[in-house]
Symmetry: C2
Subunit: 301 residues, 2 copies
């Protein structure tokens, strides 16, 4: 998995501070998560082949996560896209987008599917042989979901030395990798675990923005490889976080710690701060493997 931070700032877009958008690349899939104003310009700047995006996930309908979507769809139309586009987001998103397209008599020449969300329980949005994508219900001023991207375990790894030693015919190797027991040269059944190793652990990415401190998400995101958790405020503004239903860096780190995730990524910084390193320092008091999202930065998961 490869995560590109397209924008990681809260509220109004500024010249050097783009609102939220991320690209997650998973074995050929290119998923767009949130789409603040100006996202399409940033996608071009970071040379992302955005025609390849087939699925867009919108966490909630605040402008800094959503106002760039209608422009991106219009650009897809101008570029002559014909691949279908799936949009997952809160109820109301379909009406807002279609109304604007209709007012401009902009009819897309590709199929546009809206998957409107209303549930407050984790909901499976997408699944194929490679990964599954599930909502993470969050707590914010409007209906909001995070998204959990879970890769499926790969094939088991063949212990070729052991397989040869037991005289297993190579025509059985693929079945063995798939986890089946297979016969040896004497037609005795060999247990799969005797000739294969566990696959590399499946990677996962949890995106949690925007949200107040919310321990309810911990079971769902526990042991996630990478957690992006919003940290709009520093600890000295914890009251403001409470009032606006956002989190502090300290709170994001508490969630990461309790969920035992591999790494924490902070973002959604309020415009009142200029030194972002303080976010990292405050989080690291609780959870050491913390990093800062920055526009244009890439994280390999």
């Amino acid at each position: 998995m490869k995560l590109t931070i397209v924008g990681c700032h809260s509220a109004s877009p500024r010249f050097d501070a783009n609102p939220t958008a991320q690209i997650l690349e998973v074995k050929g899939h290119l998923f767009l998560i949130d789409c603040g104003e100006g996202t399409q310009v940033q996608l071009r700047k970071f040379k992302i082949k955005f025609a390849r995006i087939k699925h867009i996930f919108i966490s909630h309908l605040h402008g800094d996560h959503f106002f760039g979507l209608v422009g991106l769809i219009s650009t897809f139309k101008l570029l002559g896209r014909d691949a279908p586009l799936h949009i997952y987001g809160p109820k109301g998103i379909k009406q807002a987008i279609l109304l604007q397209l209709k007012l401009g008599k902009t009819y897309t020449n590709f199929e546009l599917y809206f998957h409107e969300l209303e549930s407050n329980k984790p909901t499976l949005l997408f699944e194929d042989a490679i990964l599954s994508i599930t909502t993470i219900p969050l707590k914010h001023r409007v209906y909001t979901n995070g998204f959990l991207f879970q890769q499926k375990p790969g094939e088991r790894i063949l212990n070729i030395q052991k397989a040869t030693q037991l005289g297993i015919d190579s025509s059985y190797y693929q079945k063995a990798k798939q986890g089946f027991d297979v016969p040896d040269s004497q037609e005795n059944i060999v247990s799969n675990t005797a000739i294969t190793f566990d696959p590399a652990p499946a990677k996962s990415y949890a995106y949690c923005s925007d949200t107040a401190y919310c321990e309810q998400i911990i079971p769902q995101i526990s042991n996630t490889t990478l957690l992006y958790h919003e940290a709009t405020f520093l600890h000295q503004h914890a009251q403001l976080a409470l009032k606006t239903m956002h989190s502090t860096a300290h709170q994001a780190a508490l969630i990461a710690h309790k969920a035992k995730v591999g790494k924490l990524l902070l973002g959604h910084y309020s415009g009142r701060y200029s030194d972002y390193n303080e976010f990292k320092l405050q989080a690291q008091e609780v959870f050491t493997p913390t990093e800062l999202a920055m526009d244009g930065k890439i994280f390999e998961i």
Copy 2:
């Protein structure tokens, strides 16, 4: 009048090519004309004190003229604006903006007035002691208006030498500047034209975008000090201009020539061109005083 080109490109926003938006400053007024995606970022970049904008004019509901409006309004709210805001644009604009604000539970703490337009005749939108603003009905794929900003003539200029010579009491000077006849020292009435000069000619600015070639606008914009006329295409793509209801540089120049305007400003260039100077050259074959709009360029009218 001072005109700042905030963005002057058509279709999709790109890193160095912003969609349409202009700021017209007229004696303390700050008018925003069109508002493509990213306009608020450009306004900050050009250090325009955009909290002073009280009136926004939207020509039509294509994204490159309109998708930045909802974000700008949201930012006004975040900045704690309390001055009322007037928005003039095609019918439907109110629903599109209010729906998006409502979905984000973003209620402005200032008064937001929508003036929805439907008429195909020139309509007076605004008038005060300084200027009037009237729609210019244009021809495009959707309902579209340009806007004509006409300054009112200033006071007449007192011929102070002549007034002294005739012994006119200084308490009559203001009346004379206002165009009245006034008495001399002998109580004889002196004709106003004998003691005043004509005021400086009133300036005017006509904004015409987007539009097909449309001679119907000529009477309304004749003798305008500055005409901004879209020129999406070069002459070699005249067929494309016809099909998409846009203009070529040559056609914009024809309109400028026939309307005897003072100066022509071209913009709304298609993304297919990289050398904009060709627009100027093609226009100047018909109308010499032609200039090119460029993002960030300022024109004094």
